[in-house]
Amino acid sequence: MIDVLVIGGGNAALCAALMAREAGASVMLLEAAPREWRGGNSSHTRNLRCMHDAPQDVLVDAYPEEEYWQDLLKVTGGLTDEKLARLAIRASSTCRDWMRSHGVHFQPPLSGALHVARTNAFFMGGGKALVNAYFRSAEKLGVQIRYNSPVDAIELDGDRFVAARIGAERIEARACVLAAGGFESNREWLREAWGRNERGEWPADNFLIRGTRFNMGVLLKFMIEAGADAIGDPSQSHCVAIDARAPLYDGGICTRIDCVSLGVVLNANAERFYDEGEDFWPKRYAIWGRLVAQQPQQIGYSIIDAKAVGRFMPPVFPGVRADTLPELARKLGLDEATFMRTIGDYNAACRVGKFDHTVLDDCHTEGVTPAKTHWARPIDTAPFFGYALRPGITFTYLGLKVDEHAAVHFGGKPSRNLFVAGEMMAGNVLGKGYTAGVGMAIGTAFGRIAGTEAAKAAAKAASVGAAASREKEYATS
């Protein structure tokens, strides 16, 4: 029998498999995806938020535990567990040497991401390079890896893991780590979770999935129905405004639209609906997914003029371009009269001071609702560009409740041999909101804990099993 079965193939699963194998356990890892799509959402990540008390190779200055914790407290609005959060935070300060030993390389922040130079260590080549390195290391260490192996059910004996099922196949193990992701790829479930709005629309039908198509939440649903303790709100998800032309799945980082704060955003009625200049875009992009989701038809249009070109990260698709504003309205399929009135009102309300998109400048509007509080300049210089925006789901927060040993709980009691890591439990620490690199920090910390604990549980089960069979031998001899 295998000691530790790891279900999933992303960062948390790989961390668990590597730790369990290093602890001497025999390990099998089941990845639902084929090899070319392995790694789940981890393939789209790029950095790890790291606590550090002094400059550390690629990290500048310091990012102490307390500051990290306060940041987390702020973004989650208190929907977090301090003990587990601090565990993940502290782990982030020491895990990188271990990551390096398995082939992960770090680099200073990418251009366009200097605002996280102090807090985040970037993976050279991004998350897929990290996933590749972990898979290579796992193979080298003798972890059995199976692709195209979506587990659809778990066999439990009370709170004890017995076996995993892939269709008719049954795989027994002494201990198991669940790290199979959230349910963000499951459009039916998203539809149900988001429900129907007052306009009779099903908003989630217009969502795009920024990551993998394989996170269907099958195991999450199975475990919750089997009585495992859950945590988090199914309608909560990390949701950002992305290019409406992005693919349905796996659009990843490049589908972001970074020009929102330099112009205005209109809805399908050609009206503004939120302060585009509230704060720097990296601090605001995550609220715009939900804002767009609340608009009719779940669509928004970021409108800029020539003055903004070259001042934001280049988008993956060229914008819709027009030499006049009415032409842009027509090309975007918006009502021309309303569009012109909205832009006209906004332009007239602009109080332009000293424009500087690198600081919270004094360009603002007066007498228009909603106001634009920074970077407000009239949209008046051709050519004009429009980018359609859709809500893009990165991951969901609904998960299984855990303790500091990453054990799955049933009725408040921890299982002895079933553990969970990654998106399937990130909601314990991150009940809502997000801050760059924290998902990987949680996944790495709890993946490693789950792997270690699973190896321990397996060793215990093996010795108990051996003792039991010895007793049986005595009894029969």
Binding site: E36, W37, S43, H44, R46, H105, Q107, L110, S111, G112, A113, L114, H115, F122, F123, M124, G125, G126, G127, K128, A129, N132, R136, P247, D250, G252, I253, C254, T255, R256, D258, L262, F280, W281, P282, V309, G310, R311, F312, M313, P314, P315, V316, F317, P318, H357, T358
Partner: protein, 390 residues
């Protein structure tokens, strides 16, 4: 939809006087647009930092970046948008396709630019011609291939001045052709001159990167990709054997020429003389290097390569190996009756190598060095973009 966008882009480009892109160039422009919105690969090499200084990619940018790419493969394996993703980003292959196109575009004379695309045939004809030429010359001048031992005196077979003239003319032509080609390339991609800007540091930086093959180190020092997503330093090392082996052989020839004309010392040189030591050391390097590169090339992940360039890559590697092998065989057999035959074979191979220098894989070193120079000039200038998120 994509087709329509491409057409629109082309029309817009024509309207502004920009040069229309070929299909291969268009693919580079398309994928770089995706890369520029992602940027995860910035740490691997020079291509991505150079990319981030731009918002759009015109013909000159594409030619420059294609030649800056060392085809290490790192970005392909790390790419979240690589096939089977619908974005189908494959920078190493897209760049390789444009690279060979640029060699042809800038070739001198223009009519011979097409030889790059028929490098296998070109190489075969050059080799057959070279071998035939020298074997026939031996027969015509000596009447026999095998002879009494001549104590290694090559000039008893072919007069020194005849060889010097033949190889001198071909070599000078090769250098002129490549020089004109790279000058045309530089005119297209030139970063221009700015007042107060000195080039010394940029030249030094480019030389450093070229001579150390910096961009085959993966950005982390563990090397580039070959068979799969694992890193290896073998390609860099075998390339060093090849390049420095070639340079040592070249140095041997230069020293021998100086001996001949300045010191009036004539071949054959003793085994412990400078030309023979340089040539032997270089020859060994030029055996190990190309053999290793060929082995790696055969095992290389085909997805990161332009399959149509295999004849050019492998032909050049084989020719280098044969040059060295035949040279060392000549050194070993120069005191025997087979010297004339060995000499004819070696000279035939070297002639084929020289003839094809401006129309084969050798060009990559010249164009790559020029691209590295541009990179070093450009990176010392402040970026013209202010993208805000910084």
């Amino acid at each position: 939809m994509q087709h329509l966008e491409a057409l629109t882009r082309e029309a817009a480009a024509l309207a502004t006087g920009a040069l229309p892109l070929t299909a291969d160039e268009g693919e580079v422009a398309r994928t770089l647009q995706i890369c520029n919105a992602c940027r995860y690969c910035e740490g691997f090499c020079a291509v991505f930092p150079a990319m981030t200084r731009r918002l759009e990619f015109n013909k000159a940018d594409i030619h420059y970046l294609a030649n800056l790419c060392h085809n290490c493969g790192a970005c392909y394996h790390a790419c979240q948008y690589a096939p089977p993703h619908e974005f189908a980003v494959n920078i190493p292959q897209a760049m390789a396709k444009v690279r060979v196109q640029t060699y042809g575009d800038y070739a001198f004379p223009v009519a011979l630019g097409g030889l790059y695309r028929r490098a296998g045939l070109t190489m075969a004809l050059a080799l057959a011609g070279g071998l035939a030429l020298f074997l026939v010359m031996v027969l015509a001048m000596r009447g026999t291939l095998l002879h009494e031992p001549l104590a290694g005196n090559f000039y008893a077979i072919f007069p020194h001045n005849l060889l010097a003239a033949m190889f001198g003319v071909v070599f000078v032509f090769a250098m002129v052709a490549l020089g004109i080609g790279v000058t045309r390339f530089w005119r297209r991609v030139s970063p221009g001159v700015r007042s107060g800007e000195t080039r010394g540091a940029a030249v030094g930086g480019a030389a450093h990167d070229a001579l150390r093959l910096k961009y085959l180190d993966g950005g982390h020092g563990q090397g580039c990709n070959n068979d799969d997503d694992a890193f290896t330093l073998l390609r860099r090392r075998f390339h060093h054997f090849t390049f420095y082996g070639f340079m040592l052989c070249f140095a041997a020839t230069v020293v021998a020429t100086l001996y001949h004309y300045l010191l009036d010392l004539h071949a054959p040189y003793p085994v412990l003389s400078l030309p023979v030591i340089l040539g032997s050391a270089g020859g060994v390097g030029l055996l190990i290097g190309p053999a290793g590169l060929l082995w790696l090339n055969l095992k290389r992940d085909a997805r990161t390569m332009d399959a149509s360039q295999k004849p050019m890559d492998r032909g050049f590697i084989a020719l280098l190996f044969l040059t060295s092998a035949s040279g060392l065989a000549l050194l070993a057999g120069r005191d025997t009756g087979a010297m004339a035959a060995l000499l004819a074979v070696h000279l035939g191979i070297v002639m084929a190598l020289f003839l094809t220098l401006p129309y084969g894989k050798f060009a990559h070193g010249i164009y790559r060095s020029a691209a590295l120079l541009k990179y070093h000039i450009e990176k010392r200038r402040p970026s013209e973009l202010a993208l805000g998120s910084d």
